[in-house]
Amino acid sequence: MTGIDKHFPGVHALRSAQFDLHPGEVHALMGENGAGKSTLMKVLSGIYQPDGGTVEVSGEPATINGPRAAQALGIGIIHQELALMNDLTVAQNIFIGREPRRSFGRLDEAKLNADAQTIFAQMKVRIDPRAEVRTLSVARQQMVEIAKALSFRSRILIMDEPTAALNDAETNELFAIIRGLKAEGVGIVYISHKMDEIRRISDRVTIMRDGAYVGTVSAADTPIETIISMMVGRALESVHVDIPDLTSAPVALEVRGLNRGRIIRDVGFSVKQGEILGFAGLMGAGRTEVARAIFGADPRDSGEIIVHGKPATIRSPQDAVAAGIGYLSEDRKHFGLALGLDVRANVGMTSLARFSNAMGVLDEAALQKTAQDYIAQLAIRTPSDRQEVRLLSGGNQQKIVIAKWLLRNCDILIFDEPTRGIDVGAKAEIYRLMQALAADGKAIIVISSELPEVLRLSHRIAVMCEGRLTGILPGGPGTRQEDIMRLATQKHGAPEEALA
């Protein structure tokens, strides 16, 4: 791909971008949020038509005027945003458009499910091909997308942040799959914001900034810091944990005996003011469910929630917010954003009461100023605060969800996978923000499937397995990933409280 140009209303998304891919290589595409990575790959997969530039496949000039054309050329893509049909089953999603048929357009459902099962078996994932997609967690839905892309047996496979919703174990499985494909000569474009992955899986790295090509380097020989500075145009200092002494700090939130069906079993813990409590666990351990139950988003069977020493009656998110608890969901599309509304409206969503008078008339000027402040503070890449959120890049969308909770200024904040899809620069910014919030006396819970992130941020680390809290470890350099993994796979037994 050379000289690719793409304009959107108000945005010059690609400026003469270029990219090349050899068979059997993993080529990482890196760049800040909104750099144009997804757009470039959508051009390659026939979803967008470029305004200029040429694409060649196997040395032949190619016009890719639609997804079908891309498929015919052997180009497959795993989209950054899930593109699944929620009402259909897993197998039906994987083979949409390529259903095994019998005469008269009749479907061969048995073969469909068997084929899906085969793919999952190759992937070593256990997902029921007959399950409706809407009943799966985001992580599992992501696995379905991957399975779908694999089923095409493409020569070129584009993976746009495939691991954003996956944890380490799942990521390892995916990497095993990628290595297998590589060995078969498949060329893979790999987009990710997780820097460690780049080293582990890719051969070459192409870096983009502001829609333009910056350079291509060898993954093995280039230090991460160099790649980062190529991405952001400057060097980044790394974030350290600095565990404060919280012995005398008052407890902000205490949860006792929380139960919900078989998903949450007798979970209890507390967070102090100024503390960052990390939550680690494997996919489906129940961390999200615990957060939602505390926040009143889901009903709970039993359990007390004590805020600042007083029992709080939380039956709805509204009660929770009133009690000073904020929850940033892991699934921004479904639970975090009104995609059809503009940036300003989304940022203001939690706090409209503050921006309106007694008659309910909004102070648009103040809202605009606030929205613009956050756009500047979080470096949200958007033409204006009136841009519809659905037109923003994934990472920028995530930043808007963060902005809306920062604006609300809750005493207790639960961040569920807050850096999902966020670039390194912004990630560091968000870490600093959380630390500043904690230093300000807020209690913070961070649920993350990235162990390095949990280790880097948390003052203490709670680990869950199959709905139970299996242990709470101290934060800081003393705790190793293996300690967490041991607890995360510990099926039974009483929770152990490690001494801090």
């Binding site: 979803i47 639609g66 997804p67 079908r68 891309a70 498929q71 989209h79 593109a83 699944l84 049909m85 929620n86 009402d87 259909l88 039906q92 949409i96 458009g97 259903e99 048929r101 008269f104 357009g105 009749r106 479907l107 459902e109 070593k124 994932v125 256990r126 997902i127 029921d128 399950a131 409706e132 009943t135 799966l136 599992r140 174990a169 799942e170 390892n172 499985e173 069906g261 078989r262 998903i263 494997l282 996919m283 489906g284 199959e466 796979t489």
Partner: protein, 332 residues
Amino acid sequence: MTTLPAATPARKPASGAQQKLLAFASLIALLVFFSVASPNFLQTSNMLAILQATSVNGVLAIAATLVIITGGIDLSVGTLMTFCAVMAGVILTNAGMPLPLGVLGAIAAGAVCGTISGTLVAKMKIPPFIATLGMMLILKGLSLIISGTKPIYFNDTPGFSEISTGSLIGRIIPSVPVPNGVLILFVLALVIGYVLNRTVLGRYCFALGSNEEAVRLSGVNTDAWKIAIYALAGSICGIAGLIIASRLNSAQPALGLGYELDAIAAVVIGGTSLAGGRGSILGTMIGALIMAVLLNGLRVMSVAQEWQTVVTGGIIIAAVYADMLRRRRAAS
């Protein structure tokens, strides 16, 4: 990852069949209530009358179900039915052609109109509500124009009234003279139920309603499939036109307005979501039956008509609410 627990989803929805069995409950409750309330209700003849009263609305509701599952809506089912009936009249009575041609003509007219609606929606991206509202008005006018604003009678085609009022079943089992119109409804329900669940067309119905863009990105020619679905729905309206014309032994050009709401109501009572992506023919049949039983029962009880309306409104809400409660309980 091999160490992970099996991924059977925690919030397992009640299985399809189970859910639909539950949906029967409102219908059964109504039947039991009316049987107790009026001794005249539970007679074979009245049951047949209810079934016959369901036939037209049921067939229209099946057509509407297809379109609604794709995430669309079809307001033209009622006047399209009339248009097809008028076409049959023109072919059989005005042009004096043989019966099979009239039947084919009506169904073909429905398919053509459906294709037009489908093209408006799929190719010209006109919202289904507007496209089918426009078609509803156009067809209403055309029915009047083509018929000369007069009913067309089928007196010259004696076999025509057999389509709906004759009884194939009655010839075999004389004690259950189920009219052919009802037979057609049930056969059609089985066929379209099969199409929805077992064929590519059905699969794309659900897929389009669930996430059209994702289907398109998978390289499927979504426009062509959508048009095909509207065309199928249109030809089903043609069948409804034959049933009603045969029942009234005439094509009544002024009829049909307002029938679309009844049809859509049956679909929604039957649990199909107006947002698209989920629904079933069985549910629609139950929905249509609930409406017919309700009206017949209230009439047999000689409830004053203004109260009939009030009660019908209340029961429609209650039936859907009860169904939702049951589903929610079944889910947990």
